[in-house]
């Protein structure tokens, strides 16, 4: 599929530039566009009304990966200033990162952080995005927490506290980007959902490099970086129960879709606990094996996330939904309103 087929019109006023708790006062007050794939119908609703679209026995699957700051300022040999944007943590001492600008950076360069830690450039030109492999002298996570900043969308109005980017249930540190669809949920809303007899299960997938741009004009031109994930015994059992009862598996966010659909490729009969790495890039034509409904945000045009959306929802209906949302002044992107593909 050509990326230009995943383009839509967006009024800049519809870009959400602040977290919902700042913009709306609470995280769960967003609007929600419900896209009924079977009927090809759209309906305007709100996140607080999500229970109307769920049934007892359904399982809502959340990604509990916790986001760390991903941007750190450094100086090459203590002088030239560079920005390090972490793409993915490999160990507590190594990461893949985009370093910018690169004119002062060589293999072996020492990048000095403000907290005294030093990262050495072990390799240059890693992968198609020409990333750097960095090795720090001391714990990288500690430095990111001490002097890092969150990876921030170009259109945000400010840097926000890292907790503004983490869902209330986030607990497994390891991402430098977050599963942003989960930001809509508050403890009250999750209690209400469970009170309706809906199972809530958690998996973990640490997000890697979803902000990296495509390398060409087609969905085939995306570079996929492996993402570590884990489906726990409890989550596998909940999915098994829902499937066994003919109920739905509802993914909250694209990361849950990727984790579950990757896991399903290795499941024999029933869902099983699994710890693995996902390199699955979901594009139109993908046969969904586990996920029956998908709750997410409005994604950037021509992105890998849009390609996944177009795999889950027929493209014509998807484009109709985006056009309706733009006309109806829904808030777009990570801090925006929700869309629920049923």
């Amino acid at each position: 599929m050509l990326l230009r087929e995943l383009t839509y019109e967006l009024d800049p006023r519809n870009i959400a530039c602040e977290p919902r708790e700042v913009r709306l006062g609470r995280r769960d007050l967003s609007r929600m566009l419900v896209v009924d794939r079977q009927r090809g119908a759209l309906s305007d609703s709100s996140v607080l009304e999500i229970c109307k679209f769920l049934a007892p026995g359904d399982v809502l699957v959340l990604n509990n990966s916790k986001r760390l700051p991903g941007v750190i300022k450094a100086r090459v040999a203590g002088r030239a200033k560079v920005d390090i944007r972490v793409v993915g943590l490999q160990t507590d001492l190594t990461c893949l990162a985009s370093v910018s600008p690169m004119h002062a950076v060589r293999a072996g360069s020492a990048l000095h952080f403000d907290d005294g830690n030093i990262a050495v450039v072990e390799r240059l030109d890693v992968g198609p995005h020409r990333l750097c492999l960095l090795r720090t002298q001391r714990g990288l996570v500690q430095s990111l927490k001490a002097v890092g900043r969150p990876i921030t969308s170009f259109f945000y109005s400010s840097y926000f506290d890292i907790e503004s980017y983490n869902p209330v249930y986030a607990k497994q540190e390891g991402s430098v980007e977050s599963p942003m669809a989960g930001l809509h949920f508050t403890p009250d809303l999750l209690s209400e959902i469970e009170g309706h007899g809906i199972q809530v299960a958690e998996i973990t997938l640490h997000v890697v490099g979803s902000w990296l741009p495509p390398l060409g004009r087609s969905t085939c031109d995306y570079a996929v970086y492996g993402e570590a994930f884990e489906v726990s015994e409890e989550a596998a059992a909940a999915i098994n129960r829902a499937k066994g009862a003919g109920r739905r598996v509802i993914a909250v966010g694209s990361t849950v879709v990727r984790a579950l659909e990757t896991a399903a490729l290795s499941w024999q009969a029933a869902p099983e606990p699994l710890k693995a790495v996902s390199e699955l890039f979901i594009t139109p034509g993908h046969q969904f094996r586990v996920v029956d409904a998908y709750f997410t945000n409005f994604h950037p045009a021509q992105s890998g996330l849009m390609a996944l959306d177009a795999a889950f929802c027929p493209r014509d209906l998807l484009m109709l939904a985006y056009a309706h949302a733009n006309r109806s002044r829904y808030a777009f992107l990570e801090f925006g309103d929700a869309v629920f593909y049923t």
């Binding site: 030239a80 200033k81 910018s100 600008p101 004119h103 002062a104 921030t152 170009f154 259109f155 109005s157």
Partner: protein
């Protein structure tokens, strides 16, 4: 600061609160504290990147750019640095006469 007063020996550094995104022709900058945006072409992108506290304005002016690899030139370097400075995108770190 008027652009004519930008010293050739001055060193500048990118502000910590600027987001940058590449465009087909150069780079787009967003200075978060002020909400200001600035779009630069290919030569401007090079100037922006070289504001790392190690290249003087005079050295930046000598850097080649474009297909002809001609130098950026002192007047263009001063003009772009003036724009960056007024928008808060860079800060002066050292100068002889500024």
């Amino acid at each position: 600061m008027a652009k004519s007063h930008i010293d050739e020996n001055a060193l500048f550094e990118r502000d910590d609160f600027v987001l940058a995104t590449l465009t087909p022709s150069g780079i787009l900058l967003h200075h978060m504290p002020s909400g200001g945006y600035l779009q630069l072409g290919a030569a401007g992108k090079i100037i922006w990147e070289l504001c790392d506290s190690t290249y003087s304005v005079g050295e930046i002016a000598l850097r080649p750019w474009g297909t002809a690899h001609s130098p950026i030139g002192i007047s263009h370097a001063r003009r772009v640095i003036g724009l960056l400075l007024r928008g808060g995108f860079i800060q002066l770190v050292q100068s002889q006469d500024v």
